[in-house]
Symmetry: C2
Subunit: 338 residues, 2 copies
């Protein structure tokens, strides 16, 4: 039984889209799971009523939703750390407090990413042995999807932090993607250990000694192939600057290709068939790994389906006890290094 707190005021079209996503999720999730919708009580109640009016909602959906009042909203333009201090009654802070106190088992938001990171670190705390959390993003590939981290939580990363990301990604790939002993690749500009910037070269040395299934460097061209010259890859480790540029670049590819296909006279059915399974809303949410708990970051532009899938990722993380496994994996390392 999982209880997930959803920031109903987060995202470009809140509260309409988060609520629609919540209802989609409840229609598919087993009945023991429930949701907290966090936001302005009156707006949420009105919206929920309107969306349920059609009578198409699953039986019992409303009983599995609890509205938690949070009168403030952190906007996309708010400065993260100032906002979480200035707006303690925001849906972001109230929702994360629900999780920190154990009332909710996870938190999902499509709101201000910087504020979600800052509030998650502040309220949930980092696991021992970590200096920074990392955002883990799914990348569809020619093989199975892989995980790229960090996708934007950190801009300047040390070699040690890159190794921390490798540990976090390894647990994530096991618990969420079902890939035990996940193959870890280090993003660089050549396959040889001596290629890369200073942090990457040092991280390569450290990863060779770590208790991880490290398969060496991966280059830009290896990501979509889903493998380097040596082995298939499950987790690609990089700093958050490169990871964020790459993620946003990749997200823009389908739009360009669809435009090219239309220009070449492709029938719409063929385009739809081609990009089946390639839709980013299939992946929905990127977890902020390293905090004690489950904090899932969604795009501001998320669709109801993306919110539904983000709630699904949260549920898988709770059921797999990912947070506990991350703690154990980091503890084991701490003991070994002591």
């Amino acid at each position: 039984m999982a209880r997930i707190a959803l920031d109903a005021m987060g995202g470009d079209h809140a509260p309409r889209v988060p609520i629609a996503g919540a209802l989609l999720a409840l229609a598919e999730l087993p009945p023991q799971h429930s949701l907290f919708l966090v936001g302005r009580r009156d707006r949420l109640a009105t919206e929920l009523e309107a969306q349920c009016a059609g009578g198409k909602q699953p039986p019992g959906a409303l009983e599995r939703i609890t509205i938690i009042d949070a009168p403030d909203v952190i906007d996309m333009s708010d400065k993260p750390s100032a906002a979480i201090r200035a707006k303690p009654n925001s849906s972001m802070v109230v929702g994360l407090k629900l999780h920190a106190s154990g009332t909710a088992d996870a938190f999902v938001s499509a709101g201000n990413t910087g504020a979600q990171m800052a509030a998650s670190i502040f309220l949930l705390k980092l696991h021992e042995g970590l200096t920074r959390p990392a955002i883990a993003a799914f990348f569809p590939t020619a093989r199975k999807p892989l995980v790229v981290l960090d996708a934007g939580a950190n801009v300047d990363c040390s070699a040690e932090e890159l190794v921390q990301f490798a540990r976090l990604g390894s647990v994530y790939a096991q618990d969420i993607l079902g890939r035990p002993n996940a193959a870890i690749g280090l993003l660089s500009i050549g396959e040889e250990p001596e290629k890369g910037n200073a942090a990457v070269k040092e991280a390569h040395r450290l990863l060779m000694q770590a208790d991880l299934n490290f398969i060496g460097n991966v280059e830009g061209r290896d990501i979509l192939a889903g493998e380097n010259a040596r082995a298939p890859v499950d987790v690609v480790v990089c700093d958050g600057f490169v990871g964020n540029v790459l993620l946003k670049f990749y997200e823009s590819v389908p739009g360009m290709i669809v435009g090219m296909l239309k220009g070449a006279g492709s029938p719409p059915e063929l385009i739809a068939r081609t990009f089946e399974g390639f839709d980013y809303s299939d992946y929905g949410g990127a977890p902020l790994l390293g905090v004690k708990g489950v904090s899932i970051i969604s795009h501001g532009s998320s669709s109801p389906r993306a919110i539904q899938n983000a709630l699904g990722v949260a549920l898988r993380a709770v059921e797999a006890r990912m947070d506990e496994h991350i703690g154990r994996r980091l503890d084991r390392t701490a003991v070994r290094n002591a």
Copy 2:
């Protein structure tokens, strides 16, 4: 009249492919232009004879080719700086010396990129005011193609170097793409000036004060759009680690999409039509900007058509007097800063 030196031993299928590319180029270039083919004289003569045997070569092609003997070859696996010292009679070093001495007006190679960079810096020298050269790569976009630099010459870049790249890219966009007053974007992870890593944030500040058409940060998603929220972009500035990862990632996209299209049952003609104008061999060569001269870097896996196009880029750079313009642009800056 331009005389271009081509490293006939550079690339995965040398000397066959460079020679085929040279013959393609001569068939299209006006008759006043000529080529030096640099490499093992006997192998080049045999290959040239074989390729001309069919009688399909343009009249007078052979008279416009001069073979320059260079018995050594720098392999892809050679360490760059060691190789240029150990192999002074390699096609790479001999070809660049032809250019440095003024016998040739430009140099093109599909060989070891690191060695080409090291030898270009050593033999041609950098323009005053520069600490590093940069590789400028074409990116096809939904609008006009744009230039990304640095695409891999430098891994750790200072803010000042990013500004140097902006100056180099501005001249390149003007001379090769015909875009006066080129719009410069700085690659970052958000549009606000305070987003990015330390070097990028400082570069943003410096670019605001520079005599350049700086349009602010561009994000990963803006590249294929060919514009940020403010304006179309001609030149994207980034460090060589990010640029190289992005370039190799982008180069791998068409292969994956073609696979998806085939999987969806797309007819081959539609695929060909879709990717018309998107072929990387249309762009062919990436200049190493900042050295005194014209040194064009091609992929090791270049096709004859890619070599032909790299020779075309070299010719345009010579005819536009790009090198002189870069010198002048940097001098002007030096005077202003003095």
